[in-house]
């Protein structure tokens, strides 16, 4: 798939965000330019305070951009705000009083989707993320990794076109995190969603993304981005290749960490 064959699904051009607190203004992020094709998984990597999450909040329309162009959807795939956004955060943020299947159903309830079909879809998704046995369990009974799987199912239940993930595996232990990376790739393949994946893990960013956008802080801006040319489907073996090493090295360098 070359970049030329279609209009990007997400297009950000010279996006800048300034927050105002009282009389004071502070720059949250600038120079954000990014094209994401439909069905692509793009990583955004950078240190804390570089404005990664701000980009997601602009895309989810929680905060409007101060400057620049933000466009989601194209002629082939129109985008409906609200309905077409699924979000996953670092915390699973499941409702403690709801079972896993009722938690997954929450977006469908909010959007007023037909409940019977949504229930079936929720059940299939819970199966897909490997929680089939736990559909009627409460979140407290599940491990952190399992809770995060449930929150991924929740982000998919209303069949959105764009999934925004904000450091979704940041709170998990290293081994669970690797396993979740593989799971995410599998889920991505099965669901064919466009995913924006924000992380501060450089290896994670390179391993998952077909593109990696690198953010730096002070001032917060998008400094560079790479097309990641690694064999598909990605397996853990990829991490031991020379190319993988070269990509991560270059990003470390960009972040001034070598």
């Amino acid at each position: 798939m070359s970049k030329m064959d279609q209009e990007p699904f997400v297009k950000l051009e010279g996006v800048k965000k300034i927050f105002k607190v009282g009389d004071k203004e502070f720059l949250a992020v600038q120079d954000v330019t990014l094209d994401v094709r439909e069905g692509e998984l793009v990583s955004i990597v950078g240190p804390s305070g570089c404005g990664k999450s701000t980009i997601l909040s602009i895309l989810s329309e929680l905060h409007p951009a101060t400057e620049g162009k933000v466009q989601i959807g194209n002629e082939m795939s129109p985008f409906t705000p609200g309905k077409d956004i699924g979000m996953v955060f670092q915390k699973a943020l499941l409702l403690k009083w709801r079972t896993i299947s009722d938690n997954v159903l929450l977006p469908a309830e909010i959007l007023g989707l037909p409940i019977k079909e949504s229930r079936e879809r929720a059940r299939d998704l819970i199966e897909m993320v490997g929680l089939g046995k736990f559909a009627d369990a409460f979140p407290q009974q599940l491990s952190g990794g399992m809770q995060q799987r449930a929150s991924i199912a929740r982000a998919l239940v209303h069949d959105p076109r764009l999934i925004l993930m904000d450091e979704p595996f940041g709170a998990l232990d290293a081994l669970t995190r690797e396993r979740m990376n593989l799971e995410l790739l599998r889920i991505w393949k099965e669901s064919r969603k466009t995913i924006l994946f924000v992380t501060h893990g450089i290896q994670e960013a390179v391993f998952l993304g077909s593109q990696v956008a690198v953010m730096t802080s002070g001032p917060a801006r998008m400094a560079a981005h790479f097309d990641i040319d690694l064999p598909e489907p990605r397996t853990l073996d990829v991490k031991t290749t020379e190319k993988f090493g070269a990509y991560t090295k270059e990003i470390y360098h960009l972040l001034g960490m070598d």
């Binding site: 979000m87 943020l93 409702l95 409460f138 407290q140």
Partner: protein, 250 residues
């Protein structure tokens, strides 16, 4: 609690009663100072005391005041969340009012509301409604900001956020307030009866005190405790159904 836990709990209670009985016998305490458990329980058979009328009146006052406190307390907490500025202005006032010793206000209540079942309900209400407002309000506002972002990205309206997230999320807080309030409601109703009343176990206690009828007083005390425990047990049962069973930590 585990099976063994329940056993220990029952054993402690039985042990306490046995100790009480033994102490009275061994130390030969006169029964007008401390009647034995057996003497105390025996009073229940004396129909001239009108136990059931007194117990019923006190129960009404406690449950009535308590229910009022929950309804008004939750409604006020919801208002604080919904009406901008109300919390900033009224919450400090509420905290100040909470500092006023409610028990000391009881004599004023008699002037304002006269005496009887309803005035005593009001005393129970005033004394136990603060913890309900404070805990419920806290529960309503303590929501993960990212959870709000998640549903706002789905264009959830304020009502949906309230009904699906804030209100159910505040339940564990409400229950902790309700447990504190249950204990206060019992104290409130009895204090009300002390100040002025014609019926109720608090009134009964004062009358029997004049006659130095200690065993009847102890029996009244047991009945008040029983009402309080019934109320507390009811709250714990509800809490189990809505909270504990689901593994939610409070």
């Amino acid at each position: 609690m585990t099976g063994r836990g329940y056993l220990y709990a029952v054993a402690a209670h039985v042990g306490f009663i046995l100790f009480w009985q033994l102490m009275v016998i061994v130390a030969d305490v006169p029964s007008y100072i401390l009647p034995s458990p057996l003497e105390t329980i025996a009073e229940i058979t004396d129909s001239s005391y009108n136990w059931w009328t007194h117990t019923w009146v006190t129960t009404l006052e406690i449950f009535g005041g308590y229910t009022m406190a929950i309804v008004v307390g939750v409604a006020l907490a919801v208002l604080f969340v919904w009406v901008p500025g109300l919390n900033a202005s009224l919450m400090p006032l509420l905290v100040t009012l909470n500092m006023v010793p409610k028990v000391a206000m009881a004599p004023l209540f008699i002037i304002w509301f006269s005496y009887g079942i309803v005035p005593n309900m009001i005393i129970a209400f005033t004394i136990c409604f603060f913890p309900i407002v404070l805990t419920t309000y806290r529960g309503l506002v303590e929501v993960e900001p990212d959870l709000i972002n998640l549903v706002k990205a789905l264009k959830a309206n304020r009502w949906q956020i309230f009904i699906k997230i804030q209100l159910p999320g505040s339940l564990p807080y409400l229950f902790s307030g309700m447990k504190v309030a249950a204990i206060l409601a019992v104290a409130g109703a009895v204090v009300g009866e002390f100040i002025a009343s014609e019926k109720g176990l608090g009134n009964f206690l004062l009358i029997q005190q004049n006659a130095l009828n200690t065993s009847a007083m102890m029996m009244a005390l047991l009945l008040i405790t029983a009402i309080g425990m019934a109320l507390y047990g009811f709250v714990i049962a509800l809490e189990y159904i809505f909270i504990t069973r689901k593994g939610i930590k409070t």
